[in-house]
Amino acid sequence: MNKKITIALSGNPNAGKTTVFNAITGARQHIANYPGVTVEKKYGTIHHKGHAIEVVDLPGTYSLTAYSLEELVARNFVIDERPDLVVDIVDASSLERHLYLAVQFKELGVPLVIALNMMDLAESRGIIIDVEALSSQFGAPVVPMVARSNKGIQDLLDKVVSLAGEKPRWEPAPISYGMDIDQAIAEISGIIERSEIYDRKYPSWWRALKCLEMDSQITDLLKRDPALGREIELICDSIYKHTMNTLEEEPEAIIADHRYGYIAGITKKVVKRKIESRINFSDKIDKVLTNRIIGPLAMITVLYGMYSFTFWASELPIIWLETLFDGLTAIVLAVVPEGMLQSLIVSGIIGGVGGVLGFVPLIMFMFFAIAIMEDSGYMARIAYMLDRVLRWFGLHGNSVIALIVSGGISGGCAVPGVLATRVLRDPKERFATLLVIPFMNCGAKLPVYALLIGAFFSGDKARIMFILTLLSWIFALFAAKVLRATILKGPKTSFVMELPPYRAPTLRGLLIHTWERTWQYIKKAGTVILAFSVVLWAMMTFPGLSEKQMADFEKERKALSEAFLSSPDVRGLITSEKDLPALNERVRRAVNGKASPGTSGDNRGLAMVAKAASELAQGETDLEKWDQKYLRAASQYLAFRTQIGYHERVQQQTALKGTVAGWIGQRLETVTRPLGFEYRTNIALLGGFAAKEVVVSTLGTAYSLGEVNPEETGSLSERLKRDPGWNPLQAFTLIVFTMLYVPCIATVISIRREASWAWAGFSVLFNLLVAYGVSLCIRQAGLALGF
């Protein structure tokens, strides 16, 4: 068995690195984080010609400085893990800039292979590259490829296997940066080599170069020997003064100039251009899509199209999933005996997790649409067009990606949204974005809106949804503005960004991107939300009624049924309390139209009453045919049923008030009364902390309707409509409060991972505060205006 070969894939963002990685590893990918940092590490092992090759996808970088986390991670991986080969993926259509990173790998001395990707695009733009010449001039093997269509992948792997067999060594390949710098490098590397702390992990020449580039990681390392550190610092200072005086440039800039000079020297020899065929479709498309007037209109159209597509495509699958979960509920109801266990499974587990999983299609199609925008290059244009607007609010053009993923056009999820903030380099801009993305209308808030809009604003569903989308952006942007003017105050950042050429996305790329984000959503349902649903269920169940209360309710119920059975109209037709369940069942079936109750059987009186009651209940007017005694008994029965129903609701509400959740909900009323929320709403909002969709099911339970099935959501909606405590103003206040109040627990955990517990905690407090303030204003203004 041969030794395992490790290769590191590196390259600029947009060089097609992910495509190459996917093409090599296929489905055999693993994702982890680099130790101690939140930079994603993707890796996978494949077999090629009898060799095991482990492929590690380094973060996309333009350079190898110590100034960004990604670059440091990439550099440290190469230095510390010593992969057998580094494969630098280079975009053939803009060779010069992409070779800048390759030059830096050469400086470091790693065994390097250049994967010359996007050969097709280069050709279509009239750029002809002499691959052989490039290889000999640059001093590294070059493999031409078109990763999108799998061309050249096998050649690359062949090359990797044959090169690794030669056991390549690290050989720094110095280039010249002009006399002054070269001399300083020689001096410093001499000093380093003489020193005792030189560990030979890095080439001394490279270390000297990094000292002149003022690379903090390397200079800090050398300062462990104070005398050495000072000696080097003196040289660096003097060369800095010298170049500033003579060339008006810092050494770092001169080094970069020479790198580009070196590259230009090579490309001059290996690149030929056919002027006549230089058609750049991307530039032509941009003339239209970023045009002053057409640009914004096209953007609105695209976003609206995405929104419509998502909701259209996910409509049926959502119904299928709902049916599936209803079926599951039905099975549990049939198999598991009534009691605590059944309640736990139905309300706690299926209610909570099913509610979340039910939205997977919506989330998935939204992420698919977002992946199309990202992979085609259009998302970069949106960031470009909106940068000026977002900057005014203290955000960055790239914040828009995180905001859209989190539900900016309705129906995303803040968990992948939090991860999408990683593209923001400035920590303050990033935290500001992190703190406002929970305001977006994620997929989980939509059922809450749907319920309340259905009950109180049924006429203008689309308009209200549009207003809510607009509101969430307004709140997010102004909150960001406030944050950036106060606790996240910081200097202006930059928008130095590449506009990648437009490309048709590949299906494989789209599916992988969609799945990665959707999986994060599903994972939250399976772990965090499952746990919290169970906890919430327990909080809403225990301790419940005391034994004395139970006995009292039982006594009252018995008294009611005795009074019913002993009334003169009923006596003789229904004799015993034992007949009541059968009667209830018959009436229920008849009313639901499932079966017409026969009038035969061993208890004809009961059957007749049931039939009469069902017709009365359905508002049947043709009652002439009925014997009056049955009709009287039936109306007695219906009155009794209402009484019992009321009694049961009182019992359930008393029980709910007696639970932990009820206790908290009632305590919170002191605070929430100005918003018009009573304890049941408070309990629901408490549940929403696990996941916003839980608000609906919890409201359902709290309003004594038992399980909230899709069909019954309508009845919850009806019930809220009839409840005297509810009106459109109340509903709207709750909608806005739900939009703003807290990130769900899964988001809080993600924020903690990306930032810290302190930021995650702050995020909860900040959102609560904003939600409370805004809802209070809406409520009080609404009351003052007489709504």
């Binding site: 770092e252 800039a253 941009d286 470009y384 067009m385």
Partner: protein, 83 residues
């Protein structure tokens, strides 16, 4: 006639050669690693709808910059000779 002006002052589709970049520190580094170094040929590709950022074509790719960043880049451009 040749004249050196700030990149910010260039008009859409105008071409020029970078002569000097005054940005230092992290900003300077960002610009350099994206290939904005003296003697690079550039062309103003266009501007965002609100006239900021600006899109610049150089080395066969398109780069965006905010106006204040474009102010630190000095570009030699052709200007018509005064009659």
């Amino acid at each position: 006639m040749k004249k050196v002006i700030k990149m910010r002052e260039m008009s859409d589709n105008q071409r020029g050669i970078i002569k000097r970049i005054t940005a230092t520190g992290d900003m300077g580094r960002r610009l350099r690693e994206m290939g904005l170094v003296p003697e690079t040929a550039i062309k103003i590709q266009g501007r965002a709808p609100l006239r900021d950022p600006v899109a610049v074509k150089l080395r066969d790719f398109v780069l965006t910059l905010r106006n204040n960043e474009a102010s630190s880049i000095f570009v030699e451009v052709d200007v018509p000779d005064p009659e």
